[in-house]
Amino acid sequence: MKNPPFTYHRPTTVDEALALLAEFGDDGKVLAGGQSLLPVMALRLGSPEHIIDIGSIDELATITVGDGVTIGAMVRHAEAEKSADIASQAPLIAAAMPYVGHRAIRSRGTVVGSIAHADGAAEMPAVCLATGATMSIASADGTREVAAADFFQGFFTTALEANELLTAVHFPAWSPTAGGSVVEIARRHGDYAMCGLACSIDVPNGTITEAALSFFSVAGQPIRVAEAEQALIGKPATESSFADAATVVAEHLDPTGDIHATANYRRQLATVLTRRGLAEAASRIGVPA
């Protein structure tokens, strides 16, 4: 038995969960898929006094299509990986899924749980930032929506307050002339990346009109490189445009170094991934995921 003791709550409605969070807030922790929380507890890096298991709240286990796609807090990675709606409405999520842990982790872990956990080396926060996702946050006091750009605030830190639940994340409609990709370099398959990129370009008439370059595992939170995105606008979707963007990435991205990779090595990986990711994104335009 490795887990520290806690009081276990299993609400069956969102309102019940919010009442528990209002009562226990700072001493409580939401359990969804448990693939990040339970290792944290097993290693005694955290020992919340109250665990609020949202796994029996059926209303959170939904994928809803409408002006994009909305993913509820109990949708597991494996469900997102197999969903035709997500493949068509939010292909960057589908592209990210094979990189998330291993199959047995994806069976249990949730997409929204990964977003709320906000590991700077994880894929989904970067996908949220690249696509301009919107977080639906609820508490006993009401609901609010927060843009991805304001949600991720640093190392395992988000805009979520202790009494709040991230109930769903909305991903905006995907342009039919856009292509996207998720690419990363990790020591072993399933490990957290040493550097990764979620990117997209929209090429309606031969030139790029929109670009997103969202890097992960370069800092405590995912980072977009606006200067490199700007450098792509108005250019054709060619290798030379992508190489120019990679040069701008090298100038403006300032990764952190740690025991897994030095800052300079991460910067080098980021330039390689910029070329590789954008080429893959271009190749996917008009191709069903």
């Binding site: 038995m1 490795k2 887990n3 520290p4 003791p5 806690f6 009081t7 276990y8 709550h9 299993r10 609400p11 069956t12 409605t13 019940e16 359990l31 448990g34 693939q35 339970l38 290792p39 097993a42 290693l43 665990i51 298991d53 796994g55 029996s56 494996a78 842990g101 291993h102 199959r103 047995a104 982790i105 069976s107 249990r108 072993r188 398959h189 399933g190």
Partner: protein, 181 residues
């Protein structure tokens, strides 16, 4: 300690359980339904091994890295150490003990890996077998790269993996030649 006849608590009812209290949990393991009385903090792996007595599910790291405790939960491979047993209330679980055929003969994947000498100390084998069952169910003809990638979530400290990959490839040819399903 093991089974209990007290009424089960269906997951559709809201519950709160203090740290030293217990919850009645109903789980089906390899076709048998067990009524268990469980402290909230105990893992599904511990309960399978200690309360149900099925010690074929092995515990290596107990934090989701090694894959030795992989079992099927509602048909999907899952880390039994990364589930609270109370989360498995109402679930249908298959462990390594549920893999063999009813007559006691080995599952074709077990047979193939046995023939390829995929098992050395065999501590990791239950996890590898359950992961392989899931892999071949969804992708009956994986390439060697796909096998290595799919099984990268399971660690072995003896074989160097080559004999395990050989065993899975033997299973693929055995199953695809109509040897068994």
């Amino acid at each position: 300690m093991s089974s209990s006849s007290s009424s089960q608590s269906p997951a559709s009812r809201s519950v709160s359980v203090d740290p030293d209290a217990t919850l009645d949990v109903s789980v089906t393991i390899n076709g048998d339904t067990h009524q268990l009385v469980i402290e909230p903090r105990r893992s599904l792996a511990d309960v399978i091994r200690e309360d149900v007595g099925l010690t074929g599910t092995h515990l290596g790291c107990e934090h989701g890295v090694c894959g030795a405790c992989t079992v099927m939960v509602n048909g999907e491979p899952s880390r039994a150490c990364l589930m609270l047993a109370v989360q498995a209330d109402g679930a249908d679980i298959t462990t390594i003990e549920g893999l063999a055929n009813d007559d006691g003969s080995m599952h074709p994947i077990q047979q193939a890996m046995h023939e390829a000498m995929s098992f050395q100390c065999a501590f990791c084998s239950p996890g590898f077998l359950m992961s392989t069952v899931a892999l071949l169910r969804d992708n009956p003809s994986p390439s060697t790269d796909e096998i290595r990638e799919e099984l990268s979530g399971n660690l072995c400290r003896c074989t160097g993996y080559q004999s395990i990959v050989d065993g899975v490839e033997t299973a693929v040819s055995l199953i695809n030649s109509g040897g068994a399903a």
